[in-house]
């Protein structure tokens, strides 16, 4: 008994010895051990694949109307039926994902890039620079978002993908900028950051080489929240008629189209597929973000 315990312990400790594995590699291995995160990654990749490769799955165009065949239930020709205008639902669903994902990922990228740089500078330098930058964030955070979209639509007399992305770009970074500032302030007190200064590293080098890699865990959560949030936001805005015009296929637009009593009660093929896609996208992105955070968490490092 004792001997077997000892030999097992030997095997175990021998097996878990980590030799020369970089933290990114360890993080990847931990990520792969998290079933929810892996499932999220697979689902998200599948969604990206079917939306980007939409022509492979349907020969209909999302902007061509079959006027003789409106409100058709699912059939062999139209697997998800057609909507009241005669658009093919499957084509709308697949192509519509492109818009949603573009909006969501541009929000994610802005959160990542601008949020980090802005928060990094603010948190590292502190003092009046920090004060000034954070007051600007206050202004941006309190900016009336919906009014802003209406304003832009009125000024440029257009509504569409580009406008929505512009708004997303302008409004998605402040929250993450403020959050990253907190992370950088915390890191600033760490011995290894002070240590970087004691060996003569300048401010930029300290921020980007010594501090930034230590924020990856937090960043991944921020980005996943941003992506998930903006998928939902596109749906919500289009649903209330402030997002994309009907001619542009999007998941929110499809939901908006189906928002009447008849469609809700008798035509689930109109609204169920886009609703499922939105929920799946948001959930999978959140699971990936959680998985990444756990994988990069320094507290969990062996």
């Amino acid at each position: 008994m004792a001997a077997s315990v000892v030999s097992k312990a030997g095997v175990k400790s021998g097996g878990t010895v980590v030799k020369g594995k970089p933290p990114s590699r360890l993080a990847f291995e931990r990520f792969m051990r998290n079933p929810l995160a892996v499932a999220g990654a697979i689902i998200l990749l599948a969604i990206i694949f079917i939306t980007v490769g939409a022509p492979l799955f349907t020969h209909y165009s999302p902007s061509v109307i079959d006027i003789m065949n409106t409100n058709a239930p699912p059939s062999a020709a139209h697997p998800l039926g057609t909507d009241p205008s005669g658009y093919d639902n499957l084509a709308r669903l697949l192509y519509g994902g492109r818009v949603d994902l573009t909006v969501a990922f541009s929000a994610g990228v802005m959160t990542l890039v601008i949020g980090t740089i802005y928060g990094g500078i603010s948190g590292y330098f502190g003092g009046w620079i920090d004060n000034l930058m954070m007051r600007f964030v206050d202004v941006m955070l309190n900016f009336p978002f919906v009014v802003f979209i209406l304003f832009l639509e009125a000024v440029f007399n257009t509504s569409g993908e580009l406008l929505l992305i512009t708004v997303v770009v302008l409004t998605s970074w402040p929250a993450s900028g403020r959050f990253m500032r907190g992370v950088f302030i915390q890191l600033r007190q760490q011995d290894f950051v002070i240590g970087a200064t004691t060996i003569g590293a300048g401010a930029w080098r300290t921020i980007f080489r010594h501090m930034l890699p230590n924020t990856v865990g937090t960043l991944s959560v921020l980005v996943s929240f941003a992506v998930a949030g903006y998928v939902g936001l596109e749906a919500a805005l289009t649903f209330i008629g402030l997002g994309l015009p009907l001619s542009v296929a999007s998941w929110g637009g499809m939901l908006s189209e189906a928002s009447n009593y008849t469609a809700m009660t008798t035509q689930p093929y109109l609204w169920l597929p886009p609703a499922i896609m939105i929920v799946l996208t948001i959930l999978s992105v959140n699971f990936i973000g959680d998985g990444l955070r756990d994988a990069f968490d320094p507290q969990m490092r062996s």
Binding site: G20, P22, P23, G195, I199, G200, A201, H210
Partner: protein, 321 residues
């Protein structure tokens, strides 16, 4: 005596906010001779760590500020340099090691990359050359398998190994002065001895002067040539190590010496100094040690004593001795 390597005159580092003024370092003077070890002793909160950060100009801002003083290092006043000039001094002519080896190395960079960075920054080496030198440095601080250690991450090393890697990093450019802020406090006793031995041998080999900050008088006795005793942000006694240990003059130093446990004395209770170090936000008027001093008289509470040279090279801030 030769020209000192580092001369600190009337250094004052305050933390200033709207409502308070915390005098963390309040008029400190000392000198470090080339190739010698200066020990700075004091309790927690006596201002010794802030003194060392001030020498490197690393006082945490924006509240913390060096309000007055001179820090003359190899003939130049560091406090007058621009930030850029100062960063050429850091890591190059002046190195620093920290108390907590677990947090002092960057968890996401390889040990070799962190040591190499110093060489790339100050010696303009290429990456490959820096790595080669890092291996040599790691070997000089006692790593037998230095070729492997350069490619490992801090979390793969033990506390003592990390502290030695830190020393290799601080010594990479063979600085004239090494500031060690409680370098052994977080280590096991046996590892402590190793690290101290290592610092000693590097000092002898490269002629590096060391400022050793500690509250461990045993470490001071082992290492230091000269000693500065700090209390409440001030120097209360400064002399050679022998003089301080053989003939401590300040009541605080005496009390510190008495509080060292002695193994062959059978005492029920260890001697301790009653009370705590006064907060730097509101020091008592008069002598800062007076509230805890057994010898204190009425006059001690009124007037701040001056630092006087009682014997040649032996300075004391007490009016009663």
């Amino acid at each position: 005596m030769a020209e000192p390597l580092l001369k600190v005159r009337n250094l004052k580092t305050y933390f200033i906010s709207k409502h308070s003024q915390v005098k963390a370092v309040d008029g400190v003077d000392f000198e470090v001779q080339p190739g010698k070890v200066l020990g700075i002793v004091g309790e927690s909160g006596s201002g010794k760590s802030m003194t060392s950060l001030s020498l490197m100009r690393l006082v945490p801002g924006p509240q913390g500020r060096i309000v007055e003083g001179e820090v003359t290092f190899e003939g130049t006043d560091l406090l007058k340099l621009t930030e850029r000039q100062m960063s050429d001094v850091r890591g190059n002519r002046m190195g620093m090691i920290f108390q907590e080896p677990m947090t002092a190395l960057n968890p996401v960079l390889k040990v070799g990359e962190q040591i190499g960075e110093v060489l790339i920054r100050h010696r303009k080496l290429s990456k490959a050359e820096a790595k080669k030198q890092s291996i040599g440095l790691l070997r000089s601080v006692g790593f037998p398998r230095a070729e492997q250690i350069v490619d490992e991450y801090p979390h793969q090393l033990s506390g003592g190994m990390r502290q030695r890697a830190m020393i290799a990093m601080a010594m990479a450019c063979q600085p004239k002065l090494l500031i060690a802020d409680e370098p052994t406090t977080a280590l096991d006793v046996t590892i402590q001895a190793q690290v101290l031995d290592l610092m000693k041998s590097l000092k002898n080999k490269n002629g590096t002067a060391i400022i050793l900050i500690t509250h461990d008088l045993g470490v001071i006795a082992e290492m230091a040539d000269d000693v500065v005793v700090m209390y409440g942000g001030q120097v209360v006694e400064s002399a050679t190590a022998d003089a301080v240990f053989d003939d401590p003059l300040h009541p605080y130093t005496k009390a510190l010496m008495e509080s060292i446990p002695v193994i062959d004395q059978d005492r029920d209770r260890l001697a301790s100094i009653p009370g705590t170090v006064p907060s730097a936000a509101n020091f008592p008027s008069g002598c800062r040690f007076a509230p805890r001093c057994t010898l204190a008289q009425e006059s001690c509470h009124q007037k701040m004593p001056e630092l006087r040279e009682l014997k040649p090279g032996h300075y004391v801030r007490c009016d009663l001795v």
